[in-house]
């Protein structure tokens, strides 16, 4: 609820700015609809912060990638830009609700330096700052093995974009900022929605561009809090016999560090991507890493592509049964191989189809959601995910 109040405040400020200025408004939007089938009836395939998806809950899920976004951009005076973006998509409670994904004022101090105040999107990955715009992504959805390393994408704060070097096709840009973030999530299929709060976030992303190449290196750190009653209960149970262990495992106020490295080679014929990310958290969540590589070959309006991805989690172990349960609950190690094809249906519409093979490691309990009692964690099956989606921009 607090999230919605904060969103409403941001929208209100933006509306006041809009109506108070005689700015010519540029309205744009994006939309996507998909259908997803998952072969495993004992769990749901999800991504982002969704709590249910295809598989156990829906034979074919039409809400996993389906969204509608509207954006307003304007410039009331020279050197000042206002941006507002709202996205209607499924949330952690399985409802289609609107959320504010951009609400900021950007000040172009000079051509090489701009300062943005307000809400921006996570700039650390190659595609994270416009991941909702499925049309502009090479895949139907970003590889969860890397983009799921963090669940924090709405950054509220101040961000500076600095062009350190500009010479011909060569450019070096630093994006750095201070922010905080609130993210809703659910670990029980949407019945209870909890909040992950990140504070004192500091981040820096260095993007080196040369001709058809882009190399991006990002670092972020901050503190995490959550208000999850189940975790609180578990910590209480651990503290009764080992208070030091409970302190070590508790999430509240713990530091996290995040690193990402990405390379993109993009020409009219070839697309090659490589991204790796690592998140280290001083709590029971442990250390999670992910990596993928994608190759796509453009053949006119078609682009077949292949993605190989892997994620793994390192957690501590404990003799305390409740502590060990918590450690086990966050294990997420999985390998996937995706074959996809993108087709430019019209000048503003793209159809993408993907067949994905997924193989969770033994004991991986974070790979999917809504596990049934029949799910075999000791020997998970190989699963198939089929997706087809259409996306547009306007």
């Amino acid at each position: 609820m607090k999230m919605r109040i904060w969103d409403s405040k941001m929208l209100l400020i933006l509306l006041v700015l809009l109506t108070g200025s005689k700015t010519h408004a540029d309205w744009h939007g994006f939309a996507s609809v998909s259908g997803v089938w998952f072969s495993n009836p004992n769990a749901d395939f999800v991504y982002n912060n969704l709590s249910s998806g295809a598989g156990r809950t829906h034979t074919v899920d039409f809400g996993l990638d389906t969204n509608l976004g509207l954006q307003w951009s304007g410039s009331p005076v020279s050197g000042v830009r206002l941006n507002g973006q709202g996205v209607l998509a499924r949330d952690a409670a399985n409802r289609f609700t609107p959320s504010v994904t951009l609400a900021n004022m950007a000040l172009d101090i000079n051509p090489a330096f701009s300062l943005t105040l307000g809400r921006v999107q996570n700039p650390n990955f190659l595609y994270s700052d416009y991941r909702h715009v499925h049309y502009a992504l090479p895949w139907l959805r970003p590889p969860r093995e890397v983009y799921g390393i963090t669940s924090i994408f709405n950054y509220d704060g101040a961000q500076a974009n600095i062009d350190l070097v500009r010479h011909g096709d060569f450019g070096l840009r630093l994006t750095t900022g201070l922010a905080q973030s609130n993210t809703d999530y659910s670990r029980d299929g949407g019945e209870t929605v909890d909040r992950l709060r990140a504070t004192q976030m500091g981040y820096a992303s260095l993007a080196w561009r040369a001709s058809d190449w882009l190399i991006k290196l990002s670092y972020e750190q901050g503190n995490l809090f959550t208000n999850n009653a189940r975790i609180d209960q578990a910590m209480l149970a651990i503290a009764q016999s080992d208070s030091l262990l409970a302190q070590q495992m508790a999430l509240d106020g713990k530091d996290y560090r995040f690193m990402a490295f990405g390379v993109r080679y993009d020409t009219d014929d070839h697309l090659w991507l490589f991204e790796a990310a690592h998140r280290d958290l001083d709590a029971y969540f442990g250390r999670r890493s992910g990596v993928y590589t994608t190759y796509g070959h453009r053949l006119g309006v078609y682009m077949p592509y292949i993605t190989l991805a892997r994620t793994w989690t390192e957690v501590n172990s404990s003799n305390h049964p409740v502590a060990q349960q918590l450690y086990d609950s966050v294990k997420y190690s999985l390998t996937s191989l995706t074959l996809g094809i993108s087709y430019e249906w019209s000048s503003r519409m793209t159809v993408k189809g993907e067949a994905q093979w997924l193989k969770p490691d033994a004991g991986s309990r974070w790979a999917y959601e809504k596990y049934s009692s029949s799910y075999n964690f000791a020997a998970p099956s190989e699963d198939i995910l089929l997706s087809i989606g259409v996306s547009t921009v306007f």
Partner: protein, 168 residues
């Protein structure tokens, strides 16, 4: 009709992509501080919005076909990649987007907005209040006086009538 047939035959014989012979000029106000550009400057200008330490107001053609020809032939990127690039710029709010105008309005707009820069087909006559800062190098186009030297490309003969009627 004979000229059109000759053009098509020539196009077939040379094996050139149909857009490869499009010729474009980059135009701004005569009072603008921007000096003649290299191709790399043009790419930086239209893909990143920066040139010679400045961030001028960019003008795009509202005609999607013509716009696509410019991006393909001068900047060397396909329409698909350009659209993805456009979507990124729009939906991250990272830069001011180019304004879009019809071909026959652009010279008037440039005339009254010294900070604006636009691309136009070489066939468009440039008034003395404007200056050309780049000519696309295909078919040996060169800057000459207040405009690029006209080139009799196959493409320009094929497309001239529909697009410049009522302008020149």
């Amino acid at each position: 009709m004979r000229r059109l047939s000759f053009g098509l035959v020539l196009l077939f014989l040379t094996g050139l992509p149909w857009w490869a012979s499009a010729n474009w000029q980059i135009v701004t106000h005569r009072d603008s501080e921007i000096t003649p550009l290299q191709l790399s400057d043009v790419r930086l200008l239209f893909l990143e919005g920066l040139v010679q330490g400045k961030s001028p107001q960019l003008i795009d053609l509202s005609d999607e076909v013509l716009r696509g020809q410019f991006y393909e032939s001068v900047l060397g990127i396909s329409q698909n990649r350009w659209r993805a690039h456009w979507a990124k710029r729009v939906f991250t709010g990272s830069r001011q987007l180019p304004k879009q105008f019809a071909l026959d309005y652009i010279t008037h707009y440039l005339d009254t907005n010294p900070n604006a820069v636009a691309y136009l087909p070489n066939e468009i006559q440039i008034p003395e209040t404007l200056k050309v800062i780049y000519c696309s190098p295909h078919q040996g186009a060169t800057m000459e006086g207040s405009g690029c030297a006209p080139t009799l490309s196959v493409h320009s003969r094929l497309v001239k009538k529909p697009f410049v009627n009522g302008v020149d």
